[in-house]
Amino acid sequence: MAPLLSVHDLRVRLGDAQVVNGLSYEIDAGETVAIVGESGSGKTMSALAMLGLIPRPPAVVSGEVHFDGAELVSATPAHLRAVRGAGMAIVFQDPMTSLNPVLTIGRQLTEGMEVHLGLSGRAARERAVELLEMVGIPDPRHRLDEYPHRLSGGMRQRVMIAIGLAAHPRVLIADEATTALDVTIQAQIIELLGRLQQELDMALIWITHDLGVVAGIADRVLVMYAGRVVEHGTVDAVFDAPQHPYTRGLLRSIPVLGQHADALPSIPGTPPDPENLPPGCPFWPRCEVRADDRCRGEVPPLREVAAGHLVATFEKERV
């Protein structure tokens, strides 16, 4: 059976910048995949490109995205509009700016229902109340007529999730959905999304740079660097036996509670300029391993080091 969503060799170029460089993965209903990487590694761009949310031109998008039996990269604008919200929905990073300040919560919640489900008036309001209840907002009926500025950041993010769920999406993309929130609120939102995913049997794509979040919720993790996947495997495999030097660097730089460190380990250097990628492995300039000469001139292909564990490095297998 074909997976719910399958991305094959997705590439996005913006002018001279190659921001996504051959991304491939699959996800099924009920699964959670985390896409991890630094700012500018192409995580968000790849999600936006799937839904045709990057204006083309100037962007050039190639590759294939199969969702629900249709290919999205070459889809018509009308087909994409039908998929957005109803097929795949996105919850954006900053709940303070993702809600329209001059429209009531109810107005914004019912929008997706109007577009995709043909619901309006009382029926839409009832569903809106249900959704707000589902995401844990107290006194939902009253909240519908309020404006976003009356809600706290955590509440707003709950509203954003409710809006995302409005049209029964089968894939929910959480783009740094907890990054802008307090740690305690983060935990609540993560817990909420995990529960909703089980209840609604959705596929969840979690885009984040926070490995701590990943460990808690994801089934599989994709580590992206400079628009490429450098490591892909189950959370257990990647966390227990990281194969790529970049993944190891990331894992080392997570602070450990109760353990005093004078300086938190970091990966020296900065990610390469997407307009001027090195000819070989994009991580080579910052790599501590530099396994052999091929690193400078060849891009290491993804190879399977264990069942379902892929890594793009020339370094000898270390287990």
Binding site: L51, V102, L103, R107, G164
Partner: protein, 300 residues
């Protein structure tokens, strides 16, 4: 208030509306201006009932009489009551303002929305057309339109409306540009909203502030333009009362009958000034940055 100033606008959210009203009421001059405009509208609507004489009740025996108990504003060269004609002229001014600004709004705002939202070639084409319209001096442009359509008050409204289209297009486009980049617009698009829905639901309500201000100020300009066009004989035709036309008739008699120019002139002055003051006050209260300044200044 917003019903008279912005006839086509959807209402601002309750919070903003309440706040705007509250701050507006704290501005004394704005309250006076608002009262003047309410009086103007009442007179325009009920002028027929209020006026002691008809607009064309000629009484040659009583011609060129100064202000008196019978004729508060005196009489003109045909013995018509200037007070009645000023009252009845308010309807013409209100109608001209409403229709002309209505035309500018209905054409200009969508043009600005589309240009600002899509950008690129569409933006260039629309805004260059607007620039061409805008490059003509307003009155000259109106005269040109009237030369094509023929003189008359209806055509004057259309002409004035066309002249102010570019202003509304520009104001709207400028306000749309920053809003277009907001995350909530992207979020709405990501939930499947069409372009039309994005513009109508998400952009328009966010750019209403500047449009309302522009509407109020354009009302003043439209009334002034109608007076000017009537003054040179291209607007309202005699014997119908228009403030501009009365002013024009009165200039011939300015040495004998000052009241023929002073009262219609004062009417134009007061109404235009009131619209301008209201426009300024609205601008101050609708702009969030100015809003906090006002609050602090008044609070201190």
């Amino acid at each position: 208030m917003s019903a008279t100033v912005a006839p086509t606008s959807t209402p601002l959210p309750a919070r903003q509306r309440g706040e705007t009203l509250r701050l507006l009421v704290r501005n004394r001059i704005a309250v006076v201006a608002l009262a003047v405009l309410v009086a103007f509208i009442v007179v325009a609507v009920f002028g027929k009932a209020l006026a002691p004489y008809g607009y064309n009740s000629v009484d040659v025996a009583d011609r060129l009489q100064g202000p008196s108990v019978h004729h508060w504003f005196g009489t003109d060269e045909l013995g018509r009551d200037v007070f009645s004609r000023v009252l009845l002229g308010a309807a013409v001014s209100l109608k001209v303002g409403a229709v002309a600004v209505g035309i500018s709004l209905v054409v200009g705002v969508p043009c600005g929305l589309i240009a600002g939202f899509y950008g690129g070639v569409l933006d260039d084409v629309i805004m260059r057309v607007m620039d061409v319209l805008f490059a003509f001096p307003a009155i000259l442009m109106a005269i040109a339109v009237l030369a094509i359509l023929g003189p008359g008050s209806t055509n004057a409204m259309v002409a004035i409306g066309i002249v102010y289209i570019p202003i509304f297009a520009r104001v709207t486009r400028a306000a749309v540009l920053p809003v277009r980049e907001e995350v909530y617009v992207r979020a709405a698009r990501a939930s499947g909203a069409s372009d039309l829905r994005l513009m109508r639901r998400h952009l328009l309500p966010n750019v209403l502030g500047p449009i309302i201000v522009q509407t109020s100020i354009s009302f003043a300009f439209a009334i002034l333009s109608e007076a000017a066009l009537s003054f040179i004989g291209l607007g309202t035709q005699p014997p119908h009362p228009s403030w501009g036309l009365m002013l024009s008739d009165g200039t011939d008699f300015i040495n004998q009958a000052w009241w023929m120019v002073v009262f219609p002139g004062a009417a134009i002055f007061v109404v235009v000034l009131a619209f301008n003051i209201l426009g300024d006050a609205l601008r101050d209260t609708l702009d969030p940055r100015q809003r906090s300044l006002i609050r602090n200044a008044r609070g201190a």
